[in-house]
Symmetry: C2
């Protein structure tokens, strides 16, 4: 990213940059960024020095500079996986709010889980000169983005990491969350637990399955591979997989649903059954509280906000190594995950 | 729109247009459009004549022409009200699917119900040379769009009509849907029915209130103005308004919720009460079937699809007067709307 920072200096011409402020105050760029963005971790004395340098140089946050530079509104692109998935609603809104606070326009579109479509959309956004990109990747090879990143397009990945390039990523702890959820079912007496997840090429699906296996192993429980099903979240596929696990002489007594789409179908299916089956789902769902659905909640708005803030720090010229930011999940016990196995 | 059609001809240069096809086949533009888009309403004989003209002229759907024309992907802008409102998920996805079928990129953003922000976003999208716009308007004066429309940016409004300009609009029958929902409550014995809606400057809120009043009047029932509350859909506001109506010596025995945001709050509030209160909500909600919530469902995906198809017809050079397309709603009786008043 050093290349990007250098280029930024050129683009801003004679306007004082954060680098100038940092040099004058005798602090690092990150410290200036913290002061400018009102973030913690700066001593009062350092903050005063930075403020003095800002005033002396007439420095202004360069989101407005960015607008002025090209005589147009700055913009960032957001590439989602599915516009209709409610998980992306709060995430998108959070990104838009941060963009707006920086005077930037948000442009978004979806890849429909198709790596080619993701690449096509990302490059179309770059051709439209977005200043930065937030990507929920469908593919596993993002080397196509290297020329764009070198050309100064800041990029942050969300929900899933980038493939084959070194880039910022903000994600929820899918592994830890799933492990907690499955451990919760085990703690309520379950031994035969099914896992129904999204397609195996999706990072979060694999991580959550890893969490399931870890919880089972932690409890010394064997995993029958008939209890594990990854695939499309299409209701028919999920229904068939669930019914399969719930049939036979030794059916599962509990289910872990790998994401909100799976949970919705599982809830519908279980609602029609006489024998109760325990259920914990990954992702919170609207009205899940009233239906008593126990979930591992991730904070979609925090994911979007964190990614967008990181992106704008990059756009503000802060040069730091790409990092992986992981947000914790929360288990919300509401009833469905606390149902004991039959006969207990 | 004649001006736009003329300009389109120029822009496409020597490529045969739908107008050329229509002239050669001796049919109207709309008929050509129907054949090209595989829509019904064309006799086999006419279809054959149109196909012959298409082949003779070497006509190709000009969505590809549009891509080639400027050496870039065509794009359309979608301006929503709130990215996080689940109502817009299926609508956005439907628009994106139609755009994609036409080889176009979808760019979207939200106005957050702020007319200034709507205008800012629309003009920013126009500055980025979108070929067309689909707008869910926050404001009531769209004369600012006239120069853009004259310059060839096709525009279709969705969910709410444009203000002070003549433009295409695709909307659900808010008036009829609300009237049906309130008549349903009356048919189940209710006489004191509350209406809780969105802010009075929003077209759909006013139309749904009009539907409520019409149903009450049809049944010869007086409306106590304390039973009507329009305002923000913020849960605190909705909760206060609902509690007010449910208190006092003559509380309402049923509620009509003006949209999905109001319904969610009302369901939460009513779940905690001992005396059941009947509820019908406008808009379907995920898992509402399992919670037994009776709703007036509108088809958000059909709204988006219809608007996008109309937009691409315009972009294909079909010149016709702006129209208002209204989609019907459907009452889904699931329990909450069939609760009788106390003592019946």
């Amino acid at each position: 990213m050093a290349e990007f920072a250098r280029r930024t200096d050129t683009r801003y011409g004679n306007r004082p940059t954060m680098k100038d402020v940092a040099a004058r105050a005798g602090v690092g760029l990150k410290t200036v960024s913290r002061v400018v963005n009102g973030e913690p971790g700066v001593t009062p004395d350092t903050e005063r020095r930075v403020q003095e340098a800002i005033e002396a140089l007439g420095f202004r946050r360069n989101d407005s500079a960015r607008v002025l530079r090209k005589g147009r509104t700055a913009s960032i692109g957001l590439v989602l996986e599915d516009l209709a998935d409610p998980f992306y609603g709060p995430l998108s809104r959070a990104v838009e709010e941060v963009a707006r606070a920086h005077g930037a326009l948000l442009i978004n579109g979806s890849s429909a889980e198709d790596p080619d479509r993701e690449q096509e959309l990302v490059l179309a956004l770059c051709a439209r000169r977005v200043d930065g990109l937030i990507v929920i990747p469908a593919g596993h090879d993002h080397r196509y983005l290297e020329p764009e990143i070198k050309a100064g397009v800041a990029t942050v990945f969300v929900d899933r990491p980038a493939g084959r390039i070194d880039a910022d990523v903000v994600l929820s702890d899918s592994f830890g969350g799933a492990r907690d959820g499955v451990a919760h079912l085990i703690a309520h007496g379950h031994r035969r637990i099914g896992f129904i997840g999204d397609q195996p090429r999706i990072h979060t699906a694999v991580e959550r399955l890893r969490g399931y296996r870890a919880a089972m192993e932690d409890a010394g429980l064997p995993v029958d591979e008939r209890w594990v099903s990854l695939g499309s979240t299409d209701p028919a596929r999920v229904t068939a997989a669930t019914e399969e696990m719930l049939s036979g002489p030794e059916p599962v007594t509990a289910l872990f649903a790998g994401n909100n789409r799976v949970t919705v179908t599982a809830v519908r299916l279980l609602a029609g059954r006489e024998t109760p089956v325990a259920l914990v789902g990954f992702d919170d769902i609207e009205l899940a509280d009233l239906l008593g659905i126990t979930v591992i909640a991730q904070d979609a708005a925090a994911l979007g906000r964190t990614a967008a803030e990181r992106l704008f720090r990059r756009l503000d010229g802060v040069s730091e190594a790409p990092a992986r930011v992981q947000l914790t999940t929360e288990l919300l016990a509401r009833g469905s995950g606390e149902v004991p196995p039959p006969g207990v």
